[in-house]
Symmetry: C2
């Protein structure tokens, strides 16, 4: 994951972003990347070499499942869906993330 013309930041957050994206419905890999890019107004530019390994990890952990289908452009595409465990995991990671961001914010705003 990177920011435009800049160094990569916040590794470890990608899985959370993916889980959250899939919570809005099934998507294929390419679609996930697009979604992140557009929703973040081009700030989040996830490369495919970051995305697919992450999806593999999520599959292995049983947080998402995948099935082949046809994309909206009539192409062969793999659709990823959140499992029940994935939904639980999303909640967990959301909490951890909020907690951490709050903590960092404390540091950044302490005189």
């Amino acid at each position: 994951m990177g920011i435009k013309d800049g160094p990569e930041l916040l590794p470890g957050t990608l899985e959370l972003l993916i889980l959250r994206t899939l919570a809005g419905g099934a998507r294929h890999g390419y679609g996930i990347a697009q979604h992140l890019k557009s929703v973040s107004e081009d700030v989040l530019q996830v490369g495919e070499s970051s995305l697919y390994p992450a999806l593999q990890r999520l599959l292995l952990k049983g947080w998402v499942k995948a099935e082949w289908g046809a994309s909206e452009h009539n192409r062969r595409a793999r659709y990823y869906t959140l499992t029940a465990a994935g939904r639980r995991q999303l909640a967990v990671e959301q909490r951890e993330f909020d907690r951490l961001i709050l903590a960092i914010h404390e540091v950044l705003n302490t005189a």
Copy 2:
């Protein structure tokens, strides 16, 4: 950097946290770790094996300088101070961080 009883999160943010801490005045390594822990109410627990390498990197980049002195407990300690370049870098990283957090927030709060 890690959260209590949990997996590590947000690697890459450590340098920002250190720079921000030193913006409040010179500190030695141990003091930096303590500051992060206390300000964040024990959420941020930076181990020494994360901290010292990070400080070395900051030294190499010229963002902090170090000098030996005596700690408040009468021990030999290395005090780190922000350089002018470090101050500029802090501003840059702050902006990038805010930008990124905002982007992530967009994703997390989009239906």
